[in-house]
Point group: C2
Chain length 411, copies 2
């Protein structure tokens, strides 16, 4: 597999360990990674041990094996998931382990497979993963997600370019948007993280009860959860460790009210959901619920996703990203949520983050539900922002303040 | 990485799935494998799905990461093991999953590392793995161990030979001793397995209470457990599935009495224990316990091993293998127990297999202990047979029957 300049890869690994997951002395680290990411996983492992980690365990996945299952396994296999492994991960997190995910899958791996089987496998996996996911969505431990340039992903981002060159170009793009190519990436992230926190504070001070989106095909009033809190991806987990949960990140985000979203909205970029590309989404929401859903591509997968459980057709996250973000400016469609969600304002169906309500982690679930929090076994982001979208912040008294104009911060 | 002839590798994968672990329709399969074994693991995954497996999960390990830990991690890291992962595996086995291990490590990976740290890491790992190991040692599920030609292993087996050629020669040796190069390997294993069962029956019919070993440096009377049973590696697990737990296997084995072994014994081949080579072992046993232990190489590791817990200095297995076995005839020192233990008669310190006592799986532990069963978190085989060793079977009344002469079956 072609790999980038070793020195940059090493700095990227160090940035991941120090600024991303911020591993602590004596802490275990659980990493998930595709097989192809082994060279990066090894460098991350080394930096984690240098930082004092007691044990780094990399759980490798293999897209070829996943594909072989869809091609060869008996039909009743697709309701089975490795719950025993996810329970093990939950036990690790309960014991204080940190979590790192290396992502960069083939965005179209399962596009030729039976969508019904794919939906069953996704649901079985999501249900089984729930106990582990709660430690992540509840921010109980320090965690982070970073990318690596998988050859199949690189081919999808740079169609028609020879694989070696595509991988090289994707690495350069990753290093640029993660600020790895700056003289001091760790310092650059400290500065950028502070700027995002400043933006979140401005939104919190605005005390908006809803956001109003307008643009081509989009006319949406998105009510926010009671006592919602705007956050940036950098923050202190409940174990007291400051981490940046996504590298890169350009967003500030909070919790929509699960019952107070009305209107229509269109996606502005495709999204890759477990190996299937979904593009050209148009939905109508009523009482917070998606009551009509269309897609130009991957509509069956979209419908299966929304039908996963009661909460899968309601919103769990709303995030604001200026159109001038470095990722948007790269001009690339990454077909990977970690990047594309940082190129545009977005929403997510499914599970909400309790911490996006003030004191959310300590409130009982019933109270959080009354305040507007959505629950689901899934959490899928999709992009609704562009340079044609205006957003207003609306207060309880009906007064409105411009938040974004033409996709940029209004102030 | 150089890989062998694809067709033979595919037949080897099929043999592993069908004759080794014998995966059943609807069954999950948990595989452990070093990263370098990915091409073989993928073929095994495909054959398992073809045979009806519901889910194959490969847990990859990485020797480079293991080495990095010894070089970089803080001192207190070495009492930590991934108990959460092993508990997950135990949950999988409890749920009926089958187990396959792909082995073939660098036999000297940790030979330059601090033996005290290596011993602590080994012990932490053995203790944490115990809940999962009990499903294996108790034969609750179908399981198997097979090898793959890791480049570092190949270099150790063929010193001075260029790596690509060494790997190719090691694969050819593996294919030969596992009968993969026969016209119908699955049929060849059915026949060979029946022959080993016939040999086990002869030993059971002999009703020996002890074995007496004599040869250069060896003068040992090894008492057998009460109601012990001789077994071959092929057998029916408690879940009703016939599997061959080791590929290759040439041994018949049973349980020594934990308190009735007296005399001296010398190793006849080196053994590789978690990355350290131990060679030239001489021990003296009294009342079943190793009371003196020396080694020409790796003596500190041997002493740490024997000090792991109370049962680590007592015997858990005794196995008979003729000196004319195909593995012995290959003339190769594999430095890997899976092979070398099938080149010579051997004993193991540590955990015994309950099934080597009649009805052992159903008897309470206290009763098994009274009958002579040893318990430990470790189980390590080492070779004591050669063409210079004679073995007699001794009955309660003192009468003796030749079992082996000059390393061969006496009849």
């Amino acid at each position: 597999m072609p790999m980038p300049d070793n020195q940059l890869l090493d700095r990227y690994a160090e940035l991941t360990v120090r600024s991303g997951v911020n591993i602590q002395p004596g802490q275990q680290l659980v990493v998930t990674a595709p097989l192809e990411a082994a060279p990066l996983a090894r460098k991350i492992t080394e930096h984690a041990y240098r930082a004092g980690a007691s044990l780094v365990t990399v759980l490798y996945s293999d897209e070829q094996a996943t594909l072989a299952r869809f091609q060869l396994a008996p039909d009743d296999a697709f309701d089975v998931a490795p719950g025993w492994l996810f329970n093990g991960m939950a036990e690790a997190f309960k014991g204080g382990a940190a979590r790192l995910a290396l992502v960069g899958e083939d965005p179209a791996l399962l596009s030729e497979q039976d969508p019904a089987k794919v939906a069953r496998a996704n649901k079985a996996r999501a249900v089984a993963y729930r106990p582990a996911l709660e430690y992540i969505s509840g921010f109980a431990i320090n965690w982070s997600i970073v990318a690596f340039a998988h050859p199949a992903w690189a081919r999808a981002v740079f169609p028609g370019v020879p694989e070696g060159e595509a991988v090289e170009r994707l690495w350069q793009a990753i290093f640029a948007v993660t600020r790895t190519d700056r003289p001091d990436p760790v310092a650059a992230w400290a500065e950028h993280s502070a700027e995002l926190e400043r933006r979140a504070k401005w939104l919190n001070d605005g005390r908006f009860s809803a956001l109003r989106y307008s643009g081509p095909g989009t006319d949406l009033t998105l009510g926010l959860a009671d006592e919602h809190k705007w956050l940036a991806a950098g923050g202190k987990a409940k174990n007291g460790v400051f981490c940046i949960a996504n590298l890169p990140t350009e967003e500030v985000f909070t919790m929509p009210h699960r019952e107070r979203v009305e209107g229509t909205v269109r996606s502005t970029k495709p999204l890759s959901y477990n190996g299937t590309l979904i593009d050209g989404i148009r939905v109508r929401l009523k009482g917070g619920r998606i009551v009509e859903a269309f897609a130009e591509k991957g509509e069956e997968t979209l419908r299966s996703l929304l039908a996963t459980d009661e909460g899968a057709a309601r919103l769990g996250e709303v995030a604001l990203v200026p159109h001038s973000s470095p990722i948007s400016q790269s001009g690339l469609l990454f077909q990977n949520t970690l990047f594309d969600e940082n190129a545009a304002s977005h929403i997510a169906v499914g599970q909400a983050y309790p911490d996006t309500i003030a004191g959310g982690g300590r409130r009982p679930k019933e109270e959080l539900a009354r305040m507007g929090m959505n629950e689901s076994v899934v959490h899928v982001d999709w992009m609704i922002g562009s340079e044609e979208i205006d957003i207003d912040g609306v207060r309880e008294d009906g007064s409105a303040v411009p938040v974004m104009r033409g996709g940029e911060w209004a102030e």
